[in-house]
């Protein structure tokens, strides 16, 4: 075992200590039952031997009856223990790994936006659930099962030794030799199995994409081409999956070979010693039964060791994720005042970590917004207007200068309080496959239903809500399906209403909304801006007409900032030119 593996093994120990400790009583019960079961299963062949020898010796029928019942009783107990182990093991495995899943998810969610933007959610599903699931077994029964399998093997060999040391020696060498070989061979199919998983992912990824794009394939005549690609991918899938299966098949051949040979060997030894008068016929039978018991632990150990490789790799990935630290630290615990917030940018310079420091996204930006004022933010894609608003939430921190709310520099305010007091509605609304209530409250259970319903009515969605059979318990389908784009936007407004912030950032809804639907949103927007400071990233004339101030950004610099009324009146202002050119057409 190399040093990386050893580090991982230590990490496994640490994780085990942290997550299994709270469940140590369950873990102890599990171990006792597992080991007890092993001891009991060693007894069965002994009883059968006694039975055969007694029967051969014409013993009392009552003795035979007792032996038979003892056999049945042991069977019953062992099966009961199996069920208990299954229950305890699964429960423990999930109870512990669920906590790890939660910790990992919480940790990753706390990381910077850089991390979020460079990892697809599919990848994170694999990290948070895939990797952790492969640890389930290791958190519940790995050590016990491994030790148990060893003990069972050792127990069988020991019993053989006691019966006759020569039999013990031969069978022991055979068993442990086979175990060594099996463990050695267990890597044989690992790579192929990995390839198989990959091939499956590719095939079904292909199928899913094409089915989602069925209309376009059909209407653009790409059918024959798509089928040809399916054949191509299907061929590679066929080759890779069958290869993996055949490799695994070879391992099974080996395992079955072991069982066959163990039986032949034990019978051979039995014949030898029976002829010498050392063994009774019952003993020969018992030895054969014992030799059949050796296969199972060997198979189990080699399985566990294969799993161990996977689990160590998973532990490595989990650890490296835990090692990542967010650069945004929690604030110093100051609180922002109630009511509308004053906004102040003071010589703010910002560029993204993977961007060019010489071409910052925000270039010495300074401005101030009084409480309760609504600002319309204009500018082309890439002018820095979106970035500017993200700094208000400390999704990023400026490289130089300071952002202040109500006079407080943001790093002084606790992160929770900051994000509580600043609300945002983006163009893209993120809905969850959860109840309407959870979608609105963002899973905050402390918000009473009356408040949620009041907000729904305030948004003008009362009629829609009354039509829902299950009310707030209505489950929204994944991806917000079944709701129009406008309704989704309104729900996003609802979230911010419930949050009741002092500053609202609005990304104006995209042009996909038709003008008539948009009106409902504008009403909601008006309500939301009442008594709050507002920043609206605007695309349309209608929006710009409701704001108090206008700010136009261009290449990271404030090109123009002033009261809307003044700018409209000033024929030389950039804003005036925009109005005459048609705002929609310039900034869509």
């Amino acid at each position: 075992m190399n040093s990386a593996n050893r580090t991982n093994l230590r990490a496994y120990g640490e994780l085990l200590a942290r997550y299994v400790k709270p469940y140590s009583r369950q873990a102890l019960a599990l171990s006792v039952i597992l080991l007890g079961g092993i001891g009991l299963s060693l007894l069965s062949p002994q009883i059968v031997r006694r039975f055969i020898d007694l029967a051969q010796a014409q013993a009392d029928l009552r003795l035979l009856l007792y032996a038979a019942l003892a056999y049945l009783a042991i069977g019953l107990t062992v099966r009961g223990m199996d069920v208990a182990v299954a229950y305890l093991g699964t429960n423990l495995g999930y109870a512990t790994t669920n906590r790890l899943r939660e910790d990992l998810a919480r940790h990753l969610l706390g990381l910077d936006m850089e991390f979020q933007n460079s990892h697809t959610s599919g990848e994170l599903i694999e990290r948070i659930d895939g990797d952790v699931t492969s640890l389930t077994n290791f958190f519940s029964q790995f050590a016990v099962r491994l030790v148990g399998a060893f003990l069972l093997m050792a127990g069988v060999v020991l019993v053989m030794f006691i019966t006759d040391w020569r039999v013990g020696l031969v069978m022991g060498l055979f068993a442990f030799g086979s175990l060594g070989l099996m463990v050695y061979l267990s890597r044989y199919a690992v790579h192929e199995s990995e390839e198989e998983r990959q091939a499956n992912a590719e095939l079904f990824g292909f199928v899913e994409e094409r089915l989602a794009g069925l209309d376009e394939i059909r209407a653009n005549g790409a059918g024959p081409y798509t089928m040809r690609r399916l054949y191509e991918i299907g061929r590679s899938w066929y080759e890779r999956t069958t290869r993996a299966w055949k490799r695994r098949g070879s391992l099974w051949v080996f395992m079955m070979g072991f069982w066959g040979m163990a039986s032949v060997l034990s019978l051979g030894l039995g014949i030898l010693f029976y002829r010498q008068g050392v063994f009774t016929i019952g003993t020969v039978f018992m030895l054969q039964q014992y030799s059949m018991m050796l296969g199972d632990p060997i198979e189990r150990i080699s399985h566990q060791i294969q799993d161990l490789q996977k689990a160590l790799a998973a532990i490595d990935r989990v650890r490296s994720l835990f090692a990542l630290q967010p650069s945004i630290s929690n604030g110093h615990g100051e609180h922002l005042p109630e009511g509308a917030l004053q906004v102040q940018f003071d010589d703010v310079v910002f560029h993204y970590d993977d961007g060019d420091p010489d071409e910052p996204v925000l270039h010495h930006v300074s401005f101030q917004l009084e409480p309760g004022v609504t600002l319309g933010l204009l500018g082309r894609t890439g002018s820095g207007k979106t970035t500017l608003t993200r700094l208000l939430f400390r999704l990023w921190d400026p490289k130089a200068g300071a952002v202040r709310l109500a006079g407080q520099a943001l790093p002084r305010v606790s992160l929770d309080n900051l994000r509580q007091r600043v609300g945002m509605v983006t163009q893209e609304v993120q809905l969850f496959e959860a109840s309407l209530r959870d979608n609105l409250t963002f899973f905050d259970e402390t918000i009473p239903d009356e408040r949620v319903i009041a907000v729904i009515r305030e948004l003008g969605m009362g009629a829609w809500f009354d039509g829902l059979e299950k009310g707030l318990d209505t489950m929204l389908p994944p991806g917000g399906g079944g709701l129009s784009a406008g309704e989704q936007q309104l729900l996003a407004f609802g979230r911010v209403f419930l949050q009741d912030p002092g500053l609202v950032v609005l990304d104006e809804p995209s042009s996909r909304l038709d003008p008539a639907t948009e009106q409902r949103l504008e009403h909601a927007m008006d309500r939301l801006l009442q008594g709050r400071t507002g920043i609206i990233i605007a695309h349309r004339l209608a929006t710009v007409q409701r704001v108090d101030e206008i700010m136009i950004m261009d290449q990271g610099v404030i090109q123009e900032h002033g009261r809307r009324a003044d700018l409209v009146a000033d024929r030389d202002s950039r804003f005036h030119q925009l109005l005459t050119a048609g705002l929609e057409e310039a900034f869509a």
Binding site: V83, R106, Q430
Partner: protein, 618 residues
């Protein structure tokens, strides 16, 4: 969740027997070879049991053959080795057959969905369809393979019962009871175990789905300061899954243990009944060992026989779901014997051929109607006409039926009424008619596939003399190509995520342009484009001599260009004509047009009077 309700206890009526037969006869020799190999694999233990019995009998000096026990040790060895050989051989065939059959069924479903005439509506989301294509086809493969095992099991069960019966009929009859019990157990428990398994899977996919949603919305979660609440919800989902997993494991472990117990009960019976015979000397230790060695596989095989009945139900459900996915496919299409190209050279792609009849002079639509069966929304009695070289724009509010109109015309959803005339002649199946070279289509949210940009645009067209570059140029992708690291060879990522929204739309447009169709159909092409790019796009479309376009849009610049506008309202034509007329005559058109800049009259007057080129930047 939905899949839960779809699995009913009652097996649907599908011709499963015929389907199974068609599958078996796709590669009949593989199936026969499979039967032989697995017959040997399952049958040989009858012989090894006999050999072990002879060893014990010979030891006691009661060999029927008068041979040394060593002879039978050798026989045992040979039998074990042959069994391994049978396994090795059978396993290879078994895997080949399984995956060939999966390939066949998948090919048949996909081919029908993609190439058959008529409209194609997936009964569920594409994700659910993938589940059907993966899991249900897996069940089909599993079923056929189960049948080959069944052959071997019949060999073992009948041979072993015959041997045991000849040794001691009474014990055989008595132990059959618990053994049959395991068959009954198999039948009764299998459904329930599957139910728990399904619940477990559903709980798991809720957990993974939620992780996906949360990290897909990481910014929203952070901004709303909802991290802890979100994790709290995650904890609940995790806990539900833990309970489901425990139930699932417990159910299958109980089943397993019960089977074991029944077998141990049988052995106890043999011990008790055998003891008396043994004392009487007419039941040897060899006989006892034979019974014990047969009882274990018998118990498991009987359970398997019970299981096969559950599998038959399961495969009927799978067949049913697969045929539902294919909707109107002819009988047996699911199991049609078609090449799967696992080894032979891939088929060549057909060339686009243009015939004079394809050349578009006029397109007319009369009384086109499609109402969505569940929502009741749709389009009613739409008339529409289009001459060569015209630009016709369909506009209206959200839900007015604009997209449905295009999709019904193209045959992507089945028209319930109405006729479509191409150059005055009615066309039969719009789905196969409105394809290149006659028509090409770009939907509102275009789908790209995780291949290179080149493959996405060409999608099987041969790459000849600069046509590709021309199409990209027309779609205003020329500038972007320089920006992308690897130009045309850039991998666009799953569903095209590595491109911006505008790039995706323009790539889809290029896919349409490169086909040079008679009729261009596009749904709100400009929704993700900035004005400058959009203007360039229209200028370039204008340059296409005689390009005929049917377009959904509510952009003013497009409406101004239109030769004709069709205003839809609640699925019906509210008005039609040129923009200048409609702005006077149609209230709906006015509402749509003015909706774009409600409010301050002064500013909207300024904007309305604007007749300058749309791309003017201030």
């Amino acid at each position: 969740m939905e899949s839960l309700t779809m699995h009913t206890e009652v097996a649907p009526r599908v011709p499963w027997l015929r389907y199974t037969w068609r599958l078996i006869t796709y590669r009949p020799w593989l199936f026969v070879a499979n039967l032989l190999a697995w017959g040997a694999f399952h049958g040989i233990p009858v012989l090894t049991g006999l050999a072990v019995r002879e060893i014990f009998d010979a030891l006691e000096g009661a060999s029927r053959w008068g041979w040394s026990p060593w002879a039978f040790v050798v026989a045992l060895f040979v039998a074990e080795m042959s069994r391994l050989g049978a396994f090795r051989l059978g396993f290879g065939i078994f895997i080949d057959q399984w995956y060939i059959l999966e390939s066949l069924v998948r090919r048949n479903v996909m081919d029908h969905l993609i190439n058959a005439a008529g409209a194609r509506l997936l009964p569920d989301s594409s994700g659910a369809a993938v589940t059907t294509l993966r899991d249900d086809i897996h069940d089909v493969g599993d079923w056929v393979e189960g049948l080959t095992d069944l052959g071997g099991l019949v060999v073992f069960v009948s041979a072993s019962l015959a041997v045991m019966f000849s040794i001691n009929w009474l014990i055989t009859v008595v132990i059959l009871l618990p053994v049959l019990g395991s068959a009954v157990l198999g039948i009764t428990m299998a459904q329930r175990i599957r139910k728990y398994r399904r619940a477990n899977r559903a709980a798991t996919s809720r957990v993974t789905g939620f992780i996906g949603e949360v990290f897909g919305a990481a910014q929203a979660v952070k901004v709303a300061c909802a991290e802890e609440n979100t994790i709290g919800y995650f904890r609940k989902l995790n806990d539900t899954r833990r309970k489901a997993a425990v139930q699932d494991t417990l159910a299958s472990e109980l089943f397993n243990s019960a089977t074991h117990l029944l077998i141990e009960l049988s052995i106890t019976v043999v011990l008790l009944l055998g003891a008396q015979s043994m004392r009487a000397g007419d039941f040897s230790v060899g006989d006892f060992s034979l019974f014990v060695s047969y009882i274990w596989p018998l118990g498991f095989y009987m359970r398997y026989v019970g299981n096969i009945m559950a599998r038959q139900k399961r495969v009927s459900v799978s067949f049913d779901r697969l045929t539902k996915l294919m909707v109107d496919a002819p009988e047996n299409q699911l199991v049609a014997h078609e090449p799967v190209y696992l080894k032979e050279p891939l088929p060549t792609l057909p060339q686009l051929r243009r015939v004079p009849a394809d050349r578009l002079q006029s397109l007319a639509v009369l009384g086109l109607t499609y109402v969505h069966p569940s929502t009741g929304r749709g389009i009613h009695e739409i008339d529409l006409s289009l001459e060569r070289g015209e630009l016709v724009v369909v506009t209206g509010r959200i839900g007015a039926g604009k997209t449905t109109l295009l999709r019904t015309l193209l045959g992507l959803v089945p028209a319930q009424e109405g006729i479509i005339l191409w150059n005055g002649k009615p066309i039969g199946d719009p789905a196969t008619w409105f394809r290149p070279p006659r028509a090409a289509y770009t939907p509102q949210v275009p789908r790209l596939f995780s291949e290179t940009l080149r493959e996405n645009v060409l999608a099987g067209l041969p790459e000849i003399d600069g046509k590709l570059e021309l199409a990209l140029d027309r779609a205003v992708m020329d500038y972007d190509l320089h920006e992308l690291d690897r130009g045309l060879d850039t991998q666009v990522g799953p569903r095209g995520v590595k491109l911006s929204g505008g790039q995706m739309q323009r790539t889809a447009a290029a896919r349409m342009f490169v086909r040079e169709p008679e009729l261009y159909v596009f749904d709100d092409l400009s929704s993700a484009l900035d004005v400058e790019t959009e203007a360039k796009l229209w200028q370039r479309i204008d340059r296409l001599a005689g390009a005929t376009c049917l377009v959904v849009s509510h952009r003013r610049s497009v409406l101004r260009r239109a030769d004709r506008i069709i205003v839809l309202k609640d699925g019906r034509v509210a008005a039609r004509g040129r923009l200048s007329e409609l702005l006077h005559t149609s209230a709906e058109m006015q509402a749509l047009w003015h909706g774009q800049d409600e409010g301050d009259g002064h500013v909207s007057d300024v904007a309305l009077s604007d007749t300058a080129p749309v791309a003017r930047t201030a």
